[in-house]
Structures are given as C-alpha cells and as structure tokens.
C-alpha cells in the first residue's frame, strides 16, 4: 500500500481555534436539528454527524474557496465546514422559502454550488461520480482546483466507487476520496460487508495512494487529506483517505440501535474529537479554557439565531412548486 507522504502547511493558532469553533458549530447544529425533529418542526429525517466532526473540519481546512466537495445524506458537517451558512441550512431543514434550496431539498440535499458545495446526496455513493466529474472539469479547464468526495463506508461497495476510482486514476483527476468509516452502514458493521479489513487498500486496486487516519483527530485528518490535496493539485491524481471515526447516535432519528453495545459507544465518546482538539489547543496555549467556553457560547447563540431565522422564514409559495424543474 502506497501512502500519502507530503505534509500540508502548518496551521496557525488562529486557524486551529477556527477549526475547534467549527466542530462545536457542527455539533450544536445537529443537536438543534435533532431537537427540532423531535419537536415535530422538521419533516423527513435527519442524520446526525455528531462524533464525526473532525473529518469534515480537518478535510475542509485543506481546501481553497474554489475547490469543491460532494457530501452525503449525513451532510450538515461537510456543508458547514465548507462555508455553508447555518441560517440558510436551518431554514432548509424547516422547509422554508429562505432555505438554501427554497424548501425543496431539505436536510439531504443542501447545496451551495457557488461555495463549492455540490450538494448533500440522498443516494449512497451518489456524490462519488459528481466529485470525479467536477475534478474532470477542473482538469479540462486547466484550473488547479480539487474536489473532495466525502462518502461513508457503506458507499465503498457501490459500483460507482469502483468505476469512478478507475477513471480518476487513468485520467489522473484531482479528486480526493474521503471515506468516513464510521463503522456502520445503518445496521451493517463495516467489517461485515467490506471484503478487506482496511478499506484503504482498495486504492491499490486502482493504482493510487490510499491510507487510513484517525478520524477522531482533526489534525490527523488535516494532515492526511492535506497531503492528498497537495498531490491532486500537483496533477498527480486521486487518493483515498479513510478516516476512522464513529457516529455517536443512530443512523437517523428513530434508529433502534440494537446492533451495537453501549460500551462501544462510550469507548468512542472517550475519544471525542472536540474535547481532543480543545485539550490540545489549551496545552499548546493556543486558547484558554475560558476562551473555549466562550466559543461554545458563541456557537450556541449562532445556532439559536439560525433556528430563529429559520422559524421566521415563510413557507414556500405554492406557485414555486413547478419552478426550477428546468433552467
């Protein structure tokens, strides 16, 4: 297995604090989304990203504004980390006219194409081809943009992963496949349905680098994805980065969670990515405990404001039903 070895740029203390704040924001956002769902304010379902914040934040910290990501059904974290506006996201969760998608997409289809967010995706693996195609467009246009494709361990076994990985390899496309191995595809443990213990070896089959990193550590993710991004930007082609992580909660609200132990959850929670970065930053004297508490309070206010904004936004006009089917 070839590993990615190049190192990304060193992060300044201010960037690190921003990353911590972003992880807090993501967690607070998904907490509030769950509450809204339970209050009956939100429709459909919501797939909480809680526990996995280090992956989105570490990976997106490597990107430039012109770079693109594709996301998944569990997409709030990616969207926020790539610069999504929590107010427009929350309004979309509530199906309101002011939402990112004017209330037509909901939690699973939040997108901000101008910000490089090519959308959450309701189809498992649905973003893999899109990210690869976006990378192709960048390459054809001669731009040094990259595309980061987030997907879960469940998508590893979709045909599109293999077709796209092969294409990205032969065409040396600037795409980084970031597999969030959160251990479960709904009830299915990753080792039950994936033919190899470490999915990163699948990159070998397509002749590009693959490696795993600690997905509970934002800095480890930053480092691993950063190396892959540098490689892609240099025109050397795709990489696969498997981030080993865990979703603390169920697949979505209402998951019976009969397929895993409480002890297992507790063990993962002990490695909490937010606490981990917070402790590391305090230790580095990048921030104080009081700063961290203040940051959390800021984030709580920010998300409360997003909820208020969403609730104040009107329902979509019924006349918009048939709008935007075609350009």
């Amino acid at each position: 297995m070839s590993a990615v070895t190049a190192s990304p740029p060193e992060l300044s203390p201010a960037r690190l604090v921003d990353m911590l704040r972003m992880m807090m924001r993501i967690r607070e956002f998904d907490q509030r989304a769950l509450e809204l769902y339970r209050e009956g304010v939100m429709r459909g379902t919501t797939h909480p990203y809680i526990g996995m914040e280090a992956v989105a934040v570490g990976a997106c910290a490597t990107l430039r504004p012109g770079d693109r990501i594709t996301s998944t059904h569990r997409g709030h974290g990616h969207c926020l980390a790539k610069g999504g506006d929590p107010r427009l996201m929350m309004a979309e969760l509530l199906g309101r006219a002011a939402g990112y998608c004017k209330g037509k997409g909901g939690s699973m289809h939040i997108a901000d194409v101008d910000a490089g967010i090519l959308g959450a995706n309701g189809i498992v693996g649905g973003g893999i081809g899109l990210a690869t195609g976006a990378a192709l467009a960048s390459k054809l246009a001669g731009r040094d943009e990259v595309a980061v494709c987030f997907f879960g361990d469940g998508a590893l076994n979709q045909g599109i992963f293999h077709e796209a990985a092969n294409l990205a390899a032969i065409w040396r496309l600037p795409v980084i496949y970031v597999c969030e191995n959160n251990q479960y595809a709904m009830s299915a443990r990753a080792d039950r349905f994936t033919s190899v213990p470490d999915p990163a070896v699948r990159a070998d089959a397509y002749g590009f680098p693959g490696g795993s990193c600690d997905g509970m550590d934002a800095l480890a993710v930053y480092s691993a994805v950063g190396a892959a991004v540098a490689r892609a930007r240099a025109g050397e082609g795709p990489s696969l980065v498997v981030c080993v992580t865990y979703r603390y909660l169920g697949h979505h609200v209402g998951d019976p969670l009969n397929y895993r132990d409480k002890a297992e959850v507790e063990a993962w929670r002990a490695k909490d990515p937010i606490e981990r970065l917070r402790a590391a930053l305090i230790e580095r004297r990048a921030l104080t405990a009081a700063d961290a508490d203040a940051a959390r309070a800021d984030v709580e206010r920010e998300i409360a404001d997003a909820v208020a904004f969403a609730k104040a936004s009107p329902e979509p006009d019924l006349a918009t039903l048939t709008e935007d089917v075609y350009a």
């Binding site: 990112y100 599109i160 294409l167 089917v325 350009a327």
Partner: protein
Amino acid sequence: MSAVETQQAPAGTRVLTYAEALNEALREEMRRDPRVFVMGEDVAVWGGGGVFGVTKGLVEEFGPERIRDTPISEEAIAALAVGAAMAGARPVAEFMYADFMTLAMEPIVNQAAKIRYMFGGKARVPAVFRAQEGAGRGNAAQHSQSLEAWFCHIPGLKVVTPSTPADAKGLLISAIRDDNPVVFLEHKMLYNTKGPVPAGDHTVPLGVAERKRDGRHITVVGVHTMVLKALQAADRLAAEGIELEVIDPRTLVPFDLDMVVASVRKTGRLIVTHEAYERCGVGAEVIAQVVATAFDALDAPPVRLCGANVPVPYSGALEAAALPQVDGIVAAARQLMA
C-alpha cells in the same frame, strides 16, 4: 430509400448523412465553446471516431482530452458528466447503445434531472447524454430498444429524437447549448440517411415540432424512423385520395402539443407511431393529451402503432413483425377512413 435522399440541397445546405450532421454539430460547438467536451466508449480511437462514425475525426482536431475515450463504465460516464456540468463544463456523454443507459440511470434520473430543483434553482446541469437506439439491424433484445419513454417520465430531463440530418444537427447544437440535462436519442437506422443540412450555425429549438407533410385526413405523429415510414405511407395513400399529415415532434420533452392539436383539429384523426414498446409508451401520453385537449375534434379513436410488447427478437422476420411498418400505417389509415 427515403424521399429525402433524392432531394437536391437547397442554397446554403449540403447533403449530409445523419451521422455527418451530428459530427458537424459536435465539431462546430466544440470550436465555438471550449467548455464542450465529448466522452464515451470508443469515441476517439475506434475507426477514427465512434462505432457509428459520429465522432469521426474529432480527436484529430480537438485532442484526446476533449474527445475522451472511456472505459466501459456507463454509470461513471453519466455521473462524471453531471459533476463536470455542475463545475462549469458542457459535457456530451455518449452511450454506445441506449440499452446501456440502463446502467447509468442513477446519475441521470436521481442526479442530473433533480439537482436544479432539489437545490432550489441554484445549480445547472448542462449535460447531453447521447445514445443511439432502435431496431432494424438484427442486434436483438439488448441492443435494439427504444427507451425514450423511460426518460420522458422523469421531470427535469429533456428528450430529443431527431429523424433527419438537418434536425440532427440543429437539435444537437441546441441540446449542447441548453442549460438542462438533455437525453439525445439517435436512431441507428438513420445514421446513413441523407438530407440537406444547413451549413454553419443551424439550431432547431427544443420543443418545436415540424410538419413534414401536409394532409387533410389523418394526423400521424411519428418518432425517428417512423417519421420516414409515415412519409412513405403517405405517398402510397395519396394515390387512394387519403392524405396523411405527418408531424415529427422532434423533441418529446418538451412536447409541441399545440402543433399536434392544431393538426387533429383539422383532420379529426390521429395515429401515433414509434418503435418503442407500446405499453406506457410516448404514444399513450400523446393520445392522452390530445384527447384531453381536443376531444371534440376527434372523429375516430386515436390509434397507436408501436413496437410490440416483446423483447426485440433477432430473426429478420420476427424483428420486422415486432416493429410498426409502412403497411401497418397504410392499413390503419384505410380503416380510419373506412
């Protein structure tokens, strides 16, 4: 063969084959717009440009980056086209046979068709999905289907079915310039048909049908080869005093209902004919819309002449029996006039 083949080219046109006309459209659009690129199986190397010669010579002019041979990965071809289109390119993805598009339905149906709507109108997917369909060459069940109804069913897709070289060029240019995902379906038996094709920038708007022949008695709406067969039937029936008015919708989505209804108001009789399977086919949709819009204009129940509801068979005799033919149109017309 067809009536158009013997036509002289009017001023400003040349007689080209359908395949050449498509080739010209791709060439002109790629010259005009650097964002346009072609990808598909065997579009560059094979025979100098595609199994049916549609991309012939393009790789020489535009290079292998923009005329991009792909592995046999239909889902990825479609999905990459969608992603590239979202990221600012204007891909023309080719599927060697429309039958193979069944492997690419996820990105076409769930992604391309829905992205604009799902994202609240804030995204565009200007991708063209080209394929050839249809029977007539003994390619049997997995290489002869006409699957346009699959795509017509999906909101967000446009569906184009040219029947003449001029329309092939004009519609393909319009499809490439369109900001929506367009499923552009050619017909394998039409590639070698010839007709006058305007030189230079020739576009045919999507959603505008063409009356290929005027007639007073029966409106015939045909798709692809059935337009040509309807014209042949019209020649034969003219001798009996039965006049067919032949309409080629050219695009099935959007559909030019107005022209069809105007014609039915004149004739009172309607035949819709396509090679695609009859059941839940486009003919059913066209008839439903005409009946709902112009019931009072009908002097006889509308008739469908469609592909039999069987997998397309291999044997020449069976294949011909599975497809609507000129004789069938003639017979149906006579019965409508009986």
